[in-house]
Point group: D2
Chain length 340, copies 4
């Protein structure tokens, strides 16, 4: 049985494990002051073209979103998120649990547009009886595999600025977005156009870890206190530092995401060729073919994947996720198993 359910079913890329082994008995300062964390931050600052950025490594995406967003908001301020946004659907009320409301936006493709933001701002003017929109949360790649284009991100950033809103990007699948064939954004763009964003490690070959970036170090200069207070400061910070140092050495981060995307595109192409339709188009590592129920059932004898949405009585859209670790041989086998 091969798992196409998610992109975190394996451990870490071997280069990361090797580095951990090689440096295991070096004594390092704790709590993120180790030399690997320092070097990893330096590498990321170079990659994003921002020598002044504040960077923090955090174990999980939920913790990253929660801390980054809550530190940027007062209690009467709210986050705008797509209805399909991770903080809205799959983080068990993490944002609310620290005191802030999420204002969800209905979208067709997981992406927020300036007009959505303006509409929400207009609906929240009855001060002080309503929350004040203050931050826009976007994901790239989105939860359904779509990506933001440069023109869109520029427009969004401008709209945020005009409306006194902060822009935050969840990059759990940042690598997949960057390596999409139709992508025209770079990490430098993210750093220039958002207030804060994170580069996801867990879903791109790390054992754990997300790299949170405040593009302006003055945004929340005392974030280290918050990290410690909310249990996000690892005594052995070297563990996180090594993940990102390796990922940002010799373009490993990009290569891993590129592999995941290529495997997905190969699968997508195969479904298309065999005449299947798709619930959603995606150029990243998620594919959403619509399958007759019996096809889905047959494929699932050897492959596990998610039933995403019932389309009609006979058909179901499924989600197939590939990763940095998906062997091409398995993909080829799977493709052969897809009936015409």
């Amino acid at each position: 049985m091969y798992i196409f359910t998610n992109d975190y079913a394996e451990g870490a890329h071997p280069a990361i494990l090797q580095k951990m082994l090689d440096t295991n008995f070096e004594q390092q300062t704790g709590y993120g002051e180790d030399q690997y964390s320092i070097a990893a931050k330096k590498a990321i600052r170079k990659e994003i073209g921002n020598p002044h950025a504040s960077i923090y490594f955090i174990a999980t995406g939920t913790l990253t979103n929660q801390l980054a967003i809550s530190c940027l908001l007062k209690s009467h301020e709210a986050v705008i998120s797509a209805k399909s946004g991770h903080i809205q659907v799959h983080e068990t009320g993490a944002i609310e649990s620290l005191g802030n409301r999420i204002i969800p936006v209905e979208t067709t493709d997981g992406k927020i547009r300036p007009e959505d933001i303006i509409k929400i701002c207009h609906a929240h003017t009855l001060r002080p009886h309503v929350v004040k929109p203050r931050l826009v949360y976007i994901t790239n790649a989105t939860e359904i595999g779509s990506i933001y284009y440069k023109e869109e991100l520029i427009a969004l950033a401008a709209c945020c600025k005009e409306n006194n809103l902060l822009l935050y990007m969840d990059g759990a699948r940042m690598g997949n977005a960057l390596m999409a064939t139709d992508n025209d954004l770079t990490l430098q763009d993210m750093s220039r156009l958002t207030d804060a964003f994170y580069i996801g490690g867990t879903k791109n070959g790390a054992l754990l870890g997300e790299a949170l970036i405040f593009n302006d170090p003055e945004t929340y200069p005392e974030f280290d206190y918050l990290l410690k207070q909310k249990g996000a400061l690892q005594a052995k910070g070297r563990l996180l530092g090594i993940q990102f140092l390796e990922l940002f050495t010799d373009n490993l981060y990009y290569e891993l995401a590129d592999h995941a995307n290529k495997m997905a595109m190969k699968i997508r192409h195969a479904f298309k060729e065999k005449g299947y339709e798709f619930l959603l188009e995606s150029t990243t590592n998620q594919v959403f073919p619509i399958l007759p129920n019996r096809v889905s059932e047959t494929l699932r004898t050897n492959y596990s994947f998610l039933e995403w949405a019932k389309v009609d009585r006979d058909k179901t859209a499924v989600r197939i996720v590939t990763s940095w670790a998906t062997p091409e041989s398995i993909v080829d086998e799977f493709i052969r198993a897809i009936p015409h």
Copy 2:
């Protein structure tokens, strides 16, 4: 200029002020242990037919909703509310600020139905990645003047029980609901069918104050601690006690609400007679006629009321609110001012 904007533009019913004057120099125990608070609770327990209920007087509706709901929920549990519910639209994220998510339900008439609840429960099964629905928040009368019927409340209560959900009723305009011509519920029913509810004073003749009722005293027996901690315990609790003692002496609570409703119905009838249509039908103290813009403008030279919603380029639905203090003579004058 007469204000039809809300039902809290005046002070208190004179009987309440008189009682305050008469008892002003009596020395009373503080923090809700005064004899007026004790007597008022006794009167309410009798009125709701529940001698064991725990009752607390709280200065504002937002504070009441916030404390009552947050004490009933763990941080991963969520409230189901109509999209038009007061906690969702006009309390500045009060519920979220203490850590819980609200799950909004689209409704046409401000009322939640069992099928809404079931749908939400089905959409929240991916434990532990999603919040757990745990409490249903309803308002009666609703924010748009509609009321729950007995059959509806019974069905809702049953659905809550089946789905392990608590039922909480916001009674900011409870009097108006109870005195509606088509109402078939009593305070005894509220006490029997909900887990907790509040009887609103502020919008029915009190200077301030809402009476929060836990129908089973074991629901949150240490609520007094929470009251004090969140600044809701008045040193001079007599102030709140006297409001409710007077309101529940000689049926004053019902009479005041009845007057407000009658004034509203008179206005509604007048609009109807003169050929106007309504955005919403309501049998309580809010009327929502659709007015040509120039009519609205004319009326607003002497009367203030809210523009509720644009209907088309030429017409606007407005909201006219009456209260316990609205003089019938003013209503008659207003009616005369409505053009045919």
Copy 3:
């Protein structure tokens, strides 16, 4: 039985009730925008000599402390308070409940001194593993009746500035402090030397209400949102406005506190004359004589007051509190009842 237990056993000063009666049927805008609240703020701004101050009327002292302090602090920042401070001993963890730690300081007289602050700052340098002291909370008069002198407050304010700390004064008994025979501070001084403070109404003749003042309006310009969110915004804000308008008309606020203090001093003098000692010296409205247990018992047949602290097997320090409403005739009677 006469109650000397606290200073909130009666209702309100008759002038306040009269004003409420006189204006009861005027229609006023809700939520603090009424003309009485506006006028009361104007009167207070004049009294404190600060035309730009932001002022908010809040129902209780706990709510005032909680909202004012929490809005000034980030979650890793802490409040320094005397161990006897109200937020530390009698507010059920209100500050912590909104997320901040209190660092208590042992004092002999309820007053914090610069050396206390400096010591605490030195003990909190292991960033980010410890909280960051950020605000100093003082009460004037203190919970045990002592007051700050001008020289002390100047020194404290300077120490706060040097250490990047905010200074907040709880003025639940501000009137009593200002009218103490040895007082040399004015409300103008409070406004000049603190960042925020409140003028207590509840313990000085109001039915309810504290006037929170941010001396610099830029300190937290969106405080109105917070008020609404935490249930502190009264629909009938006129109730609070009238309290303070009357208190700050014709020096009523000062006269009421002066009366309370005089009654206390009379009692204190009587105990002294009859040879009793005191646990604490106080020039405000609290007296702490040390009584043989049988004297305490005898007095308590007709007067109720608090046993404050056991001194030895035979003696107890008690607390006698007077108020704006304490009749001089009762005080004279009480004095006669004190045995030699």
Copy 4:
């Protein structure tokens, strides 16, 4: 330069890294449902003699303490902790940040005794104006290296039960406590005598991770929601599972702690032999010798350790910490460097 500053300067025990390597490409279910987490929980349940315990692996000690304690408390309930307790001194207000007060207890040896608890309970009876003590937090080994004896823990547990208090043990250095020469407690005792406790991995050879144990699974059956909500649920839970599976295979957990303790005892013995005194006696992996300042300075040219407390002008107590990874050869060298 060798670091004696803490017990988390190295990576992980090689057996753990090896297991990670060996299993790296196995596809595992995410979020703690992997086979290693399941096996590790099974091993721990056996070790603690409690087949029904609920066990959760959490990345850091602060996160563990914070989530475990906050889920057990309502907002008006407080934690009793030694003044030297980790939650009180080194977690940046983590407990308060989620809403609860800590009541600190002055101790001489870091250990809480029944009389401390009883005193605090007596000081918190003025309901509802004070917080309600509800949980006792202890650490074993304590922050200063002392350990609880069986008789003490039994007495503490009984006192808690009598006073309706929960007992929670922070076991960041549980291994060091268990392997102390004077220890008479077992993990089974901890499970029998506390409500919840954690077995620390980070300070005993794991890369990261603490094993939180609710001895009665009904204590907080929905803790998984909280884990996810507060960002504590690792997508690759296998990482945590493997740490604990290895630690509880072939007694590795005990052996590592035993080694750390033996190294510390060797150092302690050396200081004693050479005539030095100690600030604190400890039988675990921390040693607190009192050194003339020039000795401290000399030793610190090759060894790093913490200055713990000034004793007088010429002498300082220092803290030397050993770990599972401290080589005996380094210890021998260090001992030779200690002057007579």
